[in-house]
Structures are given as C-alpha cells and as structure tokens.
C-alpha cells in the first residue's frame, strides 16, 4: 500500500492500518541509519524542501537527514532568512518553491492549518512538521514507534500525556494516533492548560498528577512552552515545577516498567527532573533516532504510487 493522500497533515483520520504500515516501514530505515554507509539511492533525483517559519533543531535536521540518507536533494528555508521578511505571503513562497520543482515541502508554521492551506495551492506534497497548536504528526508517529519498540505493542497500554495540553500539537497528534491504535490515553495538566471538552477526543483528563500517573505504562512529558506562556495561565514556573514536574517520587505510581518520553527540547527541572530525564526508563535519545527513521518512512511512502508496473527480476 501507499499513503492514500496527497499531503500528510495530521494523524486525525489516519487508519490503524496506515499507521502500522508507516511504523513497519520505519524499522528497516533504522537499520540504514545504523550502517557505516548511511545512504540508499531510493529518492535519487527527488527534492525535499524544509520550509520552517518557527525555530527547530531536531525536526528540521531529522527531515534533512532523512532525505539525505535516501539520496534526495534537501534544501532548508528559514522564514527569517527568506523573502518572508520582505512581506511575501505563504502561498507565494510555496508557489515559488513549487515552480522550482520541489517534490515534497515539509512545513512548520505557527498558525494551525497553514500546511493544509498551502497544500491546496501547490503541486508538491506537503508534510506538516508542526502547525500552531494543531498537529505534529511525525512526532506522534515516532513516539508510537518508540513505545511499540519498548513495549511490543500499543493496544491496551495506558499512556499519560503530562503538561501543557492546551498549546501542544504533540499532545493532539499523540491523542489521535494512540487512541486509533487502541491505547488508553490520559491527559494531565493545570486546569488552565487543559482545553475545554478535551475528553470528547476519547481521553480522560486529570488535574492531579498523582491520579493521572496511577498504573500508567508510558508517560509522555511535554515541554513547557515558555514562549507561549504570556497569558498568565499559571502563577510561576516554580509553582508549576512543584506541582507538575515528573520526578522519581511521582513515577512510583506508574507501572514498575514505565517508559518516559519527552519530545524535546527539555526544560530540565521544570517539567522533568534531571534524574528522570537521564534514567534508563527514559527513551529520549531513542526517540530522536526513531524520528529520523519515521521521517525516512514517510518520505519513502509519500514518493511512491503511480501507474501499475510488473514485477522486476
């Protein structure tokens, strides 16, 4: 099968079969990353443009490396050093990149829905690398790959997502993906950082960390997005850390083989204690490696398709 859509905008509406296919495809990709020669010719002659309107280290580098490992030409465009500063609109920038022959545009934008809008105006296929507080599908997929690798399954697991749910696109993609795959999802944070009616997405919401962690198989700790906290949604960082940071004491409430995830970059001492971040039960570096593998799988699957062709021997 190939991905049955032009653009990859989110995990909402993606079937369990599609998600499984992407995760299965990511496994041999990880083997490629671990080889001495990290290069296969799969996407030779294809062009991937990473168009980033927001700062990013791991997602942008990860997409860039994913493309390079598969021999695609990858180009990075940051809004701050492009014609965007001259006032060019997103659609015009997209059309310009399209006219230059890009096959895939990977876009990160501060506005929810920007990738969907761009996708309607360009021929290139669009991958959402994070849009506002909407979705970050490849992060959701790499989280699921990491959980599936460590736990052997997704179905039936209890996953607690802890932190600023309101502003988090990672939380939304995790919720859509994990519930589709049959996991039980809990979200937890201060009441001001929980979107109203979040439970309509099929999750259980908690304001008490202790309750939310009770018997959890996985805890996904979100980054406190300090740059989005200008509205006074909680009194002080120190108070947030005291009430919500994941520390060893709180972890005792989870299952003994708990897995801790964090999408990075971490605010150590705010949402996650130092000794938790560096412990064996945390898979934060594995997540980064899996991120490259998942993005290779996505690029591969999105570049496939077309007319039927006989078998090759």
């Amino acid at each position: 099968m190939s991905l049955q859509r032009k653009d990859l905008l989110g995990l909402r509406g993606m079937s369990a079969q599609e998600i499984t296919h992407i995760l299965d495809t990511a496994l041999p990709m990880r083997d490629v990353i671990q080889r001495d020669i990290k290069k296969v010719p799969t996407l030779r002659g294809k062009t991937v443009v990473c168009l980033f309107y927001e700062a990013s280290t791991r997602t942008r580098t990860s997409f860039e490396l994913a493309g390079k490992y598969m021999s695609a030409d990858t180009i990075n465009i940051s809004a701050s050093t492009s014609s965007v500063v001259k006032g060019e609109s997103l659609i015009d920038t997209g059309k310009t990149i399209d006219a230059m022959g890009a096959d895939i545009i990977v876009i990160r934008h501060g506005a929810s829905g920007a990738p969907a809008m761009l996708g309607k105006h360009v021929k290139a296929r669009i991958i959402n690398a994070g849009d506002g507080a909407h979705e970050h599908p490849t992060q959701g997929l790499l989280d699921m790959l990491t959980i599936r690798e460590r736990k052997g399954k997704l179905e039936g697991l209890t996953v607690t997502i802890l932190g600023d749910i309101l502003h988090s696109r990672v939380a939304r993609s995790n919720i859509w993906g994990l519930t589709t795959m049959g996991a039980k999802v809990r979200v937890c944070g201060p009441a001001t950082l929980l979107p109203p009616e979040i439970e309509s997405l099929g999750v259980k919401a908690y304001t008490s960390v202790e309750e939310a962690l009770e018997g959890a198989d996985v805890v996904n700790v979100l980054r406190m997005q300090l740059e989005r906290q200008q509205k006074g949604l909680f009194p002080t960082i120190r108070e947030y850390a005291r009430l919500y940071a994941l520390n060893q004491e709180r972890l005792k409430r989870c299952k003994s083989d708990v897995l801790v995830l964090h999408p990075g970059p971490m605010n150590r001492g705010i949402e996650i204690a130092n000794d938790v971040a560096d412990a064996d039960f945390a898979a934060i570096e594995e997540q980064v490696t899996n991120g490259v593998a998942v993005r290779m799988a996505i690029l591969y699957l999105m570049m496939g398709g077309g007319a039927a062709h006989g078998s090759v021997h």
């Binding site: 099968m1 190939s2 296919h21 299965d24 495809t25 496994l27 041999p28 990709m29 083997d31 490629v32 080889r35 020669i37 290069k39 296969v40 010719p41 799969t42 996407l43 598969m70 591969y300 699957l301 570049m303 496939g304 398709g305 077309g306 007319a307 039927a308 062709h309 078998s311 090759v312 021997h313």
Partner: protein
C-alpha cells in the same frame, strides 16, 4: 492473484537436483569454499541460499555464512510502482570484505533486481568478487548481467510469468510458467 498455469517446469525433485548441481559447480569454480559467503535476495533467494548452504555442508563439511538482502530501497522503479512493497530487513551479520559473495535469487529476468542487489552489497562492504546463482534464467535482460550458476534456462515470452513456489514460504516446491492476460 493466481494466473492460469501453462506448464510445470520443475517439481520438488527437479529443484533438488538443480540445487545439487549448482552446489557442485560453486565448489568447483571456487576451488573450495573457505572464502565464500551466501547472500539470498529476499524473499525466495533466501531459502534457496539456505538449501545450497546445506548441500555444500554435505559435500565439503563446512557451513558457509548466510545473509539475507532486501533490495526494496535500491529499486529504480519506486515512482512507477502502484503498490509499494513492504520493506523487509537486510540481515548480513558478517563482514563481506574480501569475501566471495554468492548472490542467490529465484528468477533472473531483466537484471534490475540483481543490479539493485549489487548496489546494496557495495554499501555493506567491499567483497573480493560477487557471483550470481539463480534457479531460473528466463531471459529478457535489460542490463548486461549474466548468472554464473543457473538451475534451468527457460526461454519465455514477456507475456508469460515464471512462478517459483518453495516449501519454506509457499508450502510446496514447484516452478511453473503462467500466462498473463492483459
């Protein structure tokens, strides 16, 4: 998809004889087997390589290392494929540097699979030489590739298909020629 069978080319006994003959040819050509490693092309090249390995163990008393190669990422027809093949793992758990690699596949047709496999092998290491063993050579090469060891040469038309079924994957051993209806 099952296509109408025009003729059966080999049964279990025929495949066994072909494997035996190829095993002897491999030993003779290489004056022994010390430097050899087998790499089967997924999927049916792998059980064939396994059978060759067992046969050579009977003849020479030596177990040759065996790896499995998935060439999906090396295909040159990604964008013309309607359905993307599931990528399997490449498992070559030994160094091929300086070794004579015997690449094994079920059918040799256009040569594109073998070209992809050669590229994949070069990314894994630097063998002294690569030899090619196939159960069936059906002709119609699109690249200048020739097998060193062939179980059976079968002249075919392009509208025909060669079906190789192996016990390990399909539950029985049979090679047949089928008619593709357009």
């Amino acid at each position: 998809m099952s296509l109408p069978v025009k003729a059966h080319l080999m049964d279990s006994e025929g495949i066994r004889r072909a494997i035996t003959r190829i095993a002897h040819e491999i030993v003779e050509k290489n004056q022994g087997v010390e430097e050899l490693v087998f790499v089967g092309i997924r999927r049916r090249g792998v059980p064939l390589a396994q059978r060759l390995r067992e046969k050579i163990a009977d003849i020479e008393g030596l177990q040759i290392p065996l790896g499995a190669l998935d060439i999906t990422l090396y295909r040159d027809d990604l964008t013309t494929l309607h359905v993307q093949p599931l990528i399997h793992k490449t498992e070559v758990p030994f160094s091929i540097d300086g070794k004579i690699v015997v690449l094994v596949d079920d059918v040799l047709y256009t040569g594109r699979t073998v070209r992809a496999a050669l590229d994949a092998l070069m990314d894994i290491g630097r063998p002294q030489a690569i030899q090619l063993a196939v159960l069936i050579d059906r002709g119609h090469r699109e690249l200048p590739i020739r097998a060193d060891f062939v179980g059976k040469n079968v002249p075919t038309a392009k509208k025909e298909n060669i079906s190789v079924r192996l016990q390990e994957i399909d539950g029985d051993d049979v090679v047949s020629i089928q008619e593709i209806s357009f």
